[in-house]
C-alpha cells in the first residue's frame, strides 16, 4: 500500500501544505470562499465517516446535527448574548447529548431500519427549526453574528479560509488518531462481524453510540462554522438533501478513508460550481457524474486510487 496515504503524519503534513499553497493559485476571493466551504463540508464528512466507514452504521439524518450547530451559532449570540465561539461549544454539547439520547434507542436497529430512523430524526429536527420561528426565524432563517476571537473579528474571506482550514487539519488529525487504538480497532471489528466483536467482549451498543456522538459533534462544529462564515442560516442546512450530500461525500470519497471524505467534499462542493456552465442541466450532470463514479469506483475514489497505486508497483 502507498505509505503516503497511510501515515497520519504524512497525511496531515500534505494537507497542511495544500492548504498553505492553494490561496496563491486563486485568481479571486470567490475561490477562497469555495475552498472554505470545502474545508467545512469535509470536516462534517470526516465525522460522518467515523460512523459510516468505521462503525458501519448509516445515518440519513446527519444534517440535523449540522443544523443544530448552525442554529446554536445563530441563536446563542442573538437570544442569549453568548460569544460566538461559546455558542459553537454549546451547540456541540447539545448535539452530543441529543445524539446520545436518540442514538440509544435507534442504534439497536440495523441496516435499512436504522437508515429510516435516522432519516425520521433528521426530518423532525428540520421541522422544528422551520416552525419555531420565534427562535429560529422560521423558513426564512436568521442572520448570524460575526465571530470574534480575542477581539479579532473574523470577517474576511482570507480569515475564514485559514480558520476553516485549521479546523479541518485538527479534525483530520483526530479522526486519523482513532485508527489502531482500542476504540478504532473495536469499530472496525464491529463493522466486519458484530457477533465476533461481541464474543471478544466489545460492548457494541456503547461503541455505536460513541461513534454516533463523535459524528454528531463533528457535524455540529461544521454547522456552526458555516453559519458564522455565511452570516446566515436557514432550515435547509438541516434538511434531507443536505444529509444526502454528506452521505454522498463519504461514500464517493471512500468509506472508512479520512482522506476520502475530504476528496468527496471537494467533488461535491466544487463540481456544482464548475457545472454552472451547463446552466439548467447542472443537477442532471452532477447526478450523472456521481452515478458513473459509483459504478466504476464502488469502493470510493481514494481506496480505488490506493488500489491502482498498489497494482502499479
Amino acid at each position: 500500500m502507498s505509505p503516503v496515504l497511510n501515515n497520519r503524519y504524512a497525511i496531515v503534513a500534505a494537507l497542511a501544505l495544500i492548504v498553505a499553497i492553494l490561496p496563491f493559485t486563486f485568481p479571486s476571493g470567490y475561490y477562497l470562499r469555495v475552498a472554505s466551504l470545502v474545508w467545512v463540508s469535509a470536516f462534517a464528512a470526516i465525522g460522518l465517516n467515523v460512523l459510516m466507514g468505521k462503525a458501519g452504521q448509516v445515518s440519513l439524518g446527519h444534517a440535523a446535527f449540522f443544523g443544530i450547530g448552525a442554529y446554536a451559532a445563530a441563536i446563542g449570540p442573538a437570544h442569549f448574548g453568548l460569544p460566538s465561539w461559546a455558542a459553537l461549544a454549546v451547540g456541540a454539547c447539545i448535539s452530543a447529548a441529543l445524539a446520545y439520547l436518540v442514538g440509544r434507542p435507534i442504534l439497536r436497529l440495523k441496516g435499512h431500519y436504522l437508515a429510516i430512523a435516522t432519516l425520521g430524526f433528521g426530518v423532525l429536527v428540520a421541522l422544528v427549526l422551520t416552525t419555531e420561528s420565534r427562535w429560529t426565524g422560521g423558513p426564512d432563517g436568521m442572520s448570524v453574528a460575526k465571530l470574534t476571537v480575542f477581539g479579532w473579528r473574523v470577517g474576511t474571506a482570507y480569515a475564514w479560509y485559514w480558520l476553516s482550514a485549521a479546523f479541518l487539519l485538527v479534525g483530520t488529525w483526530v479522526a486519523l488518531n482513532l485508527d489502531d487504538t482500542p476504540t478504532g480497532r473495536a469499530l472496525l471489528a464491529l463493522h466486519d462481524s458484530e457477533v465476533a466483536a461481541r464474543v471478544v467482549g466489545i460492548d457494541v451498543a456503547r461503541l455505536k453510540l460513541r461513534a454516533f456522538v463523535i459524528a454528531a459533534v463533528y457535524a455540529s462544529i461544521a454547522g456552526s462554522l458555516l453559519a458564522m462564515m455565511n452570516g446566515f442560516v436557514n432550515p435547509d442546512l438541516a434538511g434531507f438533501q443536505h444529509s444526502v450530500e454528506l452521505v454522498t461525500m463519504v461514500v464517493l470519497g471512500g468509506l472508512g478513508s479520512v482522506v476520502g471524505s475530504i476528496v468527496g467534499a471537494v467533488v461535491l462542493v466544487v463540481l456544482p460550481q464548475a457545472l454552472t456552465v451547463f446552466q439548467e442541466y447542472e443537477n442532471l450532470m452532477l447526478g450523472f457524474i456521481i452515478i458513473v463514479s459509483m459504478v466504476f469506483m464502488r469502493d470510493g475514489i481514494v481506496p480505488m486510487a490506493r488500489k491502482l497505486v498498489a497494482r502499479a508497483r
Binding site: D180, T181, P182, R185, L188, D192, A196, R198, V200, G256
Partner: protein, 258 residues
C-alpha cells in the same frame, strides 16, 4: 468450570435443543458430536449468549450466566470460535488478535482520539501479546497480512488465537477443523491439546471422527436436539444408540456385526 443444566431452546414448535445437560472441566476436552441437524451449533449459540435459552441454566465458574450477552460472558472468561468464519477481514492478522485483547486494555475515548503516549505504549504491549499468540498457532510470519488473504486453515487458527487472546477459562470451538486438509487438521489437533493443557476447559464441536476420538477426554452425543449419550471415546464408540443415530437401524447392525 462450565455447567449446563437442562438447557433448551425452541424456534416456534421446533425444539432445537431439548433438555441437554453437561459439564466441562478445566484442562479437559469435551466434544459434542451428533448427526447433521442434531443442534450442536445451536447449543453453542445458546451457551455463548448469541441465542436466548428458552429453559435451563448455564453456570460459569459457579456463577449463573444463563442468557448473558456474549460480551458479558467474554468478561467472565468464555470465548468461542465460529463454524462459518467470523474473522475481521479488513484488519491485519495481528490486529485481529489485538481486538481479542479488548477487555484487557484500558480504553479511553479521549485518549484514543488524541492518541496520547499511553495509547502507543499499550498498543506495543497488546501487539507483543498478540504476536506471542500468533506464534503459538503458527501464524507469526503472517502477522501483518490482511486477514482476508489467509488460507482457510489459517483463518481457523486465527479465530482460535483471537479467542485465546481474551484469556478464556472456557473455550468453545465450533468445527475448528472443518474444511481443513489432513496436515492442517493435524496442526489444529495439536493446538487444541496444548490449549487444554493450559487448564482451559475446551468444548468442541467436530465432525472429523478421527480427530474427535484422538483428543477428546469425554464425548457428548446429541440427536435431534436431545441428549443421546455421554462418555469416554471408547464408551461412545461402543454405544449402539450412537451407531443407530448416525447410520440408521441397518447400518448400526452392520457395524455391530463387523
Amino acid at each position: 468450570m462450565l455447567v449446563v443444566k437442562d438447557i433448551g431452546i425452541s424456534f416456534g414448535a421446533l425444539k432445537a435443543i431439548d433438555g441437554v445437560s453437561f459439564s466441562a472441566n478445566a484442562g479437559q476436552i469435551l466434544t459434542v458430536i451428533g448427526p447433521n441437524g442434531a443442534g450442536k451449533t445451536t447449543l453453542f449459540n445458546v451457551i455463548s449468549g448469541v441465542y436466548v435459552a428458552s429453559r435451563g441454566s448455564v453456570e460459569l465458574c459457579g456463577e449463573d450466566v444463563t442468557s448473558f450477552a456474549p460480551e458479558a460472558l467474554a468478561a467472565r472468561g468464555m470465548s468461542r470460535t465460529f463454524q462459518n468464519l467470523q474473522i475481521f477481514q479488513r484488519m491485519t492478522v495481528a490486529q485481529n488478535v489485538m481486538v481479542g485483547r479488548h477487555l484487557k486494555e484500558r480504553s479511553n475515548l479521549f485518549a484514543d482520539l488524541l492518541r496520547l503516549p499511553s495509547v502507543g505504549r499499550q498498543n506495543r504491549e497488546t501487539r507483543d501479546a498478540a504476536l506471542q499468540l500468533l506464534e503459538e498457532v503458527g501464524l507469526r510470519d503472517k502477522a501483518d497480512v490482511l486477514a482476508g488473504n489467509l488460507s482457510y486453515g489459517g483463518c481457523k487458527r486465527l479465530e482460535i488465537a483471537r479467542a485465546l487472546a481474551t484469556g478464556p477459562r472456557v473455550l468453545l470451538l465450533d468445527e475448528p477443523a472443518a474444511g481443513c486438509n489432513a496436515v492442517e487438521t493435524e496442526e489444529i489437533d495439536r493446538l487444541i491439546c496444548r490449549v487444554a493443557e493450559k487448564g482451559i476447559a475446551v468444548v468442541l464441536v467436530e465432525h472429523d471422527m478421527k480427530l474427535v476420538m484422538k483428543i477428546s477426554h469425554r464425548i457428548l452425543v446429541l440427536d435431534r436436539g436431545r441428549f443421546l449419550a455421554e462418555g469416554t471415546p471408547a464408551e461412545v464408540r461402543e454405544n449402539p444408540g450412537v451407531h443407530q443415530a448416525y447410520l440408521g437401524n441397518r447400518g448400526a447392525k452392520e457395524v455391530q456385526g463387523a
